[in-house]
């Protein structure tokens, strides 16, 4: 290769075309290798899989250590794997677009995975892959359409946001609460609305602010949005999305304000500032789907919903609980019970 390139330099015109082609190829290989790394950064299979284990393929749109959305799903799946219920293979940092996701889902189905879970609002991708593999069980997150072999699992974050709102109503000194979301999608809208509604049950004149970042991973912009709301007097915050929650937490630390973590337990990220976290417990949902798949009951598919069993308000013991009046805490606990029994229905305001 070295000798050749010396020759090239002497006879540039003749060889440059050849060199260009070979190097464009090198560039392509680099790009291909990189995208392969992007699509499948890590894969683990248990080689000694017992026959009865359900083969589960899990697609995650982010990193397994993001402290929120993907970590919640990954740890639930790992728990099932440790219990010996499933044989897990996952793809993290999967692309967002429908075509690529449906292709990844189809690949899992083709390799004999019985249950393919796409942990995002990947309804279209799941339907597209499910049409080609009618015997494989597919599931996607967040609720929506359900068909023969396509299930969805609910994310009742708005119910917990309502509980967080009650606490926020008791904590706020200014009477202004803040909310950040990546985009104004129904899930986030309902979460922010329920948060404000909860706060109003304690303090009827609470004003709710909201900002949409326009991006789910732009932590810096989310932080600035939270600071802007803090300048408008907001002192208790909630977030919807990975980047928005990380940015919110940075702003809370800087301004010494309070807030709630999103989907994962983010209390440790700012022990002094986090009142608690709205934690998505995917274990019961995944377990139901795995059991149904094992017993051949997945088809016809369902909308899996276990209510507050899948979403919990995990309080931060290091946060000064003195800031939450006992009466308000009791009110939250009572609301929690009434939501669990179905006595209290938190309205789902999607728009």
């Amino acid at each position: 290769m070295n000798g050749q390139s010396t020759q090239d330099r002497e006879d540039t015109v003749k060889h440059s075309a050849l060199r260009k082609i070979s190097l464009a190829l090198v560039a392509l290989v680099v790009a291909a290798a990189a995208s392969a790394a992007l699509a499948k950064p890590a894969s683990h299979t248990d080689s000694a899989a017992v026959q009865k284990k359900v083969k589960v393929g899990l697609l995650l749109p982010c990193a397994i250590n993001d402290h929120t959305w993907c970590q919640a799903a990954y740890s639930a799946a790992v728990r099932l794997q440790k219990e010996g219920a499933i044989d897990l293979k996952y793809t993290s940092n999967a692309p967002f677009d429908t075509a690529a996701v449906s292709q990844l889902m189809a690949q899992y189905a083709q390799r004999g995975y019985q249950l393919v879970i796409g942990h995002s609002a990947w309804q279209d991708a799941a339907f597209s892959a499910a049409g080609r593999f009618p015997k494989t069980a597919f599931a996607y997150a967040g609720g929506g359409k359900v068909a023969n072999n396509v299930a969805t699992y609910e994310e009742p974050i708005y119910q917990v946001a309502y509980l967080a709102g009650i606490l926020a109503g008791g904590i706020t000194k200014t009477g202004v609460v803040g909310g950040l979301a990546g985009q104004d999608i129904p899930l986030c809208h309902a979460e922010l609305q329920a948060f404000i509604r909860g706060a109003k049950t304690v303090r009827s004149n609470v004003r709710g602010l909201s900002a949409y970042i326009g991006d789910w991973s732009d932590v810096a912009k989310a932080k600035e949005a939270a600071l802007a709301q803090a300048d408008s007097k907001a002192d208790v915050f909630i977030a919807c999305g990975d980047g928005p929650s990380q940015g919110m937490i940075q702003a809370l630390k800087e301004r010494k304000l309070s807030g709630f973590g999103y989907v994962g337990n983010q209390n440790s990220l700012a022990p002094k500032n986090m009142v608690g976290s709205l934690v998505y417990k995917l274990y019961p949902l995944f377990k139901l789907m795995v059991q149904d798949t094992a017993q051949g009951k997945f088809i016809p598919a369902k909308d899996y919903d276990v209510g507050l069993k899948s979403f919990q308000l995990v309080l931060n013991s290091k946060y000064s609980q003195a800031k939450v009046p006992a009466k308000v805490m009791a009110q939250m606990k009572s609301a929690q019970k009434r939501i669990a029994t179905g006595e209290l229905k938190v309205p789902y305001i999607a728009k």
Binding site: T12, K20, A31, A34, P41, N65, G179, H189, D218, L269
Partner: protein, 319 residues
């Protein structure tokens, strides 16, 4: 609506914070485009810089090491880009996109491998703000300009330095000549490829520093995709700034300020039930930048783009 909450001192401070990472990358891009190389790998260089600065600051427990690592990662990708675009003379658009995809894949992969299973949250010690005595007490201007963290001043000095380098030094003249008429520059004994190599290393270093400003200077954490398209915005800002580093810096500041402004308007405008769609506010920075660019282009009429932009130079071959 509370207008005083929108147009306060904090608006300008926030605008500068939002602008600085993008400004650094944009001025770097401006430099290498003046040398005739289109570097579309900018987003990848920023991302690599952001990641390397995080790892450096975390492992060495020092912000300075982090910043150095960020610059180093940017320079390394600049070298990859130069190897492909200047030495091998392959298609620059493809090289750039390959660099971005490579950096995105590599950072996501390495972040998960390095910090994957640790229960503890990786966070680095943030850089504290420097309060310049005397100047910081100037009302209004003080809190905006003289209470930023040290990287802000470095970034500002660098962007001004690039202007001086381009327009007030012999090397800068070579850079501009190489971008406009490489054959003529070559005839005047300027080593075209060497200048382009250097320009790409500078550009990579500045983009890497831009990423480091984001991570070490502002957030003290890393997240996959943390640069969120700032590199692409920076490339657009070079066109906006008509390949003049000062105008490019101005464009970045305008973009950052409008972005800070729209976040503040969102915060003050009736919250979640606002009657004006939030998408309108989000589009504001892009609309303003586009409007200024159209106005500037119409007014000046002359094409400011370096003539040899994107064209590899081969000695002895007529272009």
């Amino acid at each position: 609506m509370d207008w005083s909450a929108i147009f306060g001192v904090s608006l300008f401070a926030a605008g500068l914070r939002l602008a600085m990472p993008t400004a650094l990358a944009a001025v770097g891009e401006c430099f290498c485009e003046r040398a005739g190389v289109l570097n579309l790998g900018l987003e990848g260089m920023m991302l690599a810089g952001a990641f390397a600065s995080f790892v450096g600051a975390d492992y060495a427990d020092s912000a300075a090491v982090g910043v150095a690592a960020g610059i180093g990662a940017g320079v390394a990708l600049g070298a990859v880009m130069a190897f492909l675009s200047v030495y091998l003379k392959t298609e620059q658009v493809i090289n750039g996109i390959a660099v971005v995809i490579f950096a995105q894949g590599l950072t996501a992969f390495a972040y998960e491998k390095l910090y994957g299973q640790s229960g503890a949250s990786p966070q680095i010690t943030p850089l504290s703000n420097v309060r310049i005595p005397g100047l910081a007490s100037i009302p209004w201007l003080g809190p905006v300009l003289f209470e930023q963290n040290v990287l802000f001043y470095v970034a500002l000095a660098l962007t001004l330095g690039v202007w001086v380098l381009l327009y007030r030094t012999r090397f800068g003249l070579s850079v501009r000549a190489v971008g406009e008429a490489p054959a003529a520059a070559d005839a005047a004994a300027v080593h075209v490829d060497r200048v382009r190599w250097l320009a790409l290393l500078v550009c990579g270093g500045m983009a890497g520093l831009g990423g480091a400003v984001l991570v070490v200077g502002q957030l003290s954490l890393f997240n996959v995709g943390i640069t969120a398209g700032r590199g692409w915005v920076a490339i657009a800002l070079v066109i906006f700034g008509r390949w003049n580093p000062l105008l490019v810096l101005g464009g970045a500041l305008l973009f950052g300020l409008t972005d800070a402004l729209q976040l503040r308007i969102q915060a003050s405008s009736g919250g979640i039930n606002a009657s004006v769609p939030y998408e309108l506010f989000q589009a504001l920075p892009y609309l303003v930048t586009l409007a200024v660019m159209v106005a500037a282009t119409v007014r000046s009429r002359r094409n400011a783009q370096p003539s040899a932009l994107g064209v590899p130079f081969t000695k002895g071959v007529s272009q």
